[in-house]
Structures are given as C-alpha cells and as structure tokens.
Symmetry: C2
Subunit: 201 residues, 2 copies
C-alpha cells in the first residue's frame, strides 16, 4: 500500500500486525481493515485486552510460566499434583501439553535450550531455579519434556547431572509412532524406538 | 487450552485474536504468546495503535473510504485527478487498486452491492451520495470497478440508470486474461471477452 492513501495510524496498525506470526503483509492489511470496520465489536475490545495484558502479564517466579499473576495459576492450583513437575522448553509446550490433558501436574519452563553456538548457557535458562525447587524437597518426579533435538537432549543431560545429589525420579516422554502417523513417513530412529517400546495389546 | 491454565486476560486476548481473518484458534494462541513474550516491543505498541485507531478512524463523508480524517487523504489529495472517480464495493478493493497503482484518481466506496436476497437496497449503500457527487458537476468520468458477479453487475446497472440525466462518462474495467494466467484454467466467459477485446501487438 502506498504511504499516502490512509492516515498514519492505519499504516502503523498494519505494520505492527504484520509482525504477528502467521500474518504476512497481505493478511495484516486484511486484519487491519477488518478491525477498523468493526470498531466497537473488535478493534476497541482487542486494544483494551492488549493494554490490560501488557499491564498484568508476568513470568512466574516459581516455574517460568507466563500468566497475569505470580505465582501462576498452575503453581497455585491445589487440584494439581504439585509433586510432579514437567520440564518444558517454552510456554507454548506447556500450552500444548495442557491442551492434550497429558498429566495433571506442575511445570517448569526453561525458557529455551542450551546452545553454545547461539551463546545460550545454563544461566540464560531457569535451570538454577529448577535445582532450587528440587532441593526444597517436595518434588518426587521430574518429567523431562524437552524437544527431541540435539540441543534438547543436551539440556536434559545437563539438568540430570545437576540433580545427581537429589532423591528425585527423572523420567522422559516416550518415543513412538504419533497417533494417526503413517509408518513410511517416520524416520528410522522413531521406528526402532517404537519397536523397542512395543506394548501388549 | 483449558480455562484454568492462564489468567482470564490472556484467555480473552486469545479469544479476540481468533476473530481476525486468517487467524484460527491455533494461530491465535501462537500470536497471543508471541505478544505476551514481547510486551514492550509489540504488545504495548499494538494495543496503543489499536486504541488510537479506534479513537480516530472514520468513514469519509464524501467518498465512503475509511481513514483517520474526514474528508479522507485521497479526497484531499491535490495530486490526484479528482474529476475521475473509481466506484468500488469495498475499501479492500480501493486498497487493491492503489497497490496496483491502477489510476491516480479519486474513489467512491459503495459499502457493498445490491442484494434483494440479503435485504441490501440502494439506501444501504452510498449510491445517493454518488449521485450527489456527480450532480455537483465536477466529475468527468466514473470508472465502475465493482466485482464481476451478478450482484456487482446489477449494482452497476442500477447506478448507470440513476445517472442517466447527467453528463458523465461511465466506463468499466476491461475483462480479459489475468497477467500470468493460464488459459485452460479460465472460464469461457472470460476467454471469449478476452478474444473480443483482443489488441494489436
Ligand atoms: Zn508457576
Ligand atoms: Zn474520501
């Protein structure tokens, strides 16, 4: 869009919307037009919701989750098994596991993985806080649910090393065939792991 | 995502984002997380931009365009040929023609098309204002650039009827083969129109 056809406020809206994941320049323009045509129904409520989130969002000082209160909703939830802690790289992984209703437990969000190449060391993640939580003595099981990448596995090993002196059970997600997955699209590592872990029907 | 894993402010943000065109529930969650993780870089500026747009956006009382001032930037622009007016259904069509740098002229945004089935009559569009503009006498050419649909064409004929008493030249966009378009994907109407309007190389 040329610079002169709509006011600078609309241009700025398009430009900021185009920074959202999943919205390119074209869909950012469509979204902006959708918004300005529905001022009271969406534009104003969404602006208010963003202002409120910007005011209230914080990182949980206990587990690294993002929420509007600290400690977060999950850390405060008495209906969860707070003695089991699922260790994830990112809040998006926490959300994915929650959507799957995978386990009614607590979490620890690392905030990334160790990556010497990208200059990410242990102090850039929340590993120290994780060791503190384990040292406090109430955690019985840590489920390491980092991604099955080289960096993820390196990070998992580093964490396990740090916890060698503590009496905590450490587990990881099972490898296997994705539900609905077709065998001939899977890599050999996944297939042989699935075969080794085969279960009785 | 279950209702209990993040504060209600984040849930509301996801819910409102999912109403944007191009964002389903999954990408709305991704966008929300992207925003709350970048509070100062995007979340707050975008919230501010939306609040400002909500405050300032208005429909141009002359042409029906959406802008943050009235008359709009296009209607005020002395570098445009204000005697030629392109009639479009929607602001999105205006933006598309501007991106194409199709013609350095003024516009008239109808706000839809006539549709008896959906209860859209002439008074639901800006047709009366268009006739007024023509009656004011400074418009030499109206380019009807409505969509090539039945409703679009019905609307075009209705407008032409309303303008029968005025001395204004009315034109429409040419039909033809889209640039880069493959012939065997085009419908017969387009192909025969392109053939009738064939030009010398
Ligand atoms: Zn927490
Ligand atoms: Zn205007």
């Amino acid at each position: 869009m040329s610079k002169t056809i709509a006011g600078p406020e609309i241009e700025r809206l398009i430009q900021l919307l185009s920074k959202l994941p999943g919205l390119g320049p074209r869909s950012a323009r469509r979204a902006a037009l959708h918004l300005v045509k529905r001022r009271e129904q969406i534009l104003r409520p969404l602006g208010d919701a963003m202002a409120e989130a910007a005011e209230k969002v914080r990182v949980c000082s206990n587990c690294g989750n993002i929420d509007t209160r600290d400690p977060c909703t999950i850390c405060r939830d008495p209906a969860r098994d707070q003695t089991t802690v699922i260790v994830v790289e990112d809040v998006s992984d926490l959300w994915a596991l929650e959507r799957a209703k995978a386990l009614n437990a607590a979490y620890h969000v690392l905030g990334g993985v160790l990556s010497p190449l990208e200059g990410v060391g242990p102090d850039d993640l929340t590993i120290r806080r994780l060791v503190e939580r384990v040292a406090e003595g109430s955690i019985g099981e840590l489920v390491i649910a980092v991604n099955a990448t080289v960096e993820g596995q390196t990070t998992a090993h580093y964490i396990i090393d740090q916890l060698a002196d503590f009496d905590v059970s450490v587990t990881r997600l099972a490898h296997g065939v994705p539900v609905g997955g077709e065998l001939d699209y899977l890599d050999e590592g996944t297939l042989s792991a699935a075969m080794r872990s085969r279960t009785k029907i």
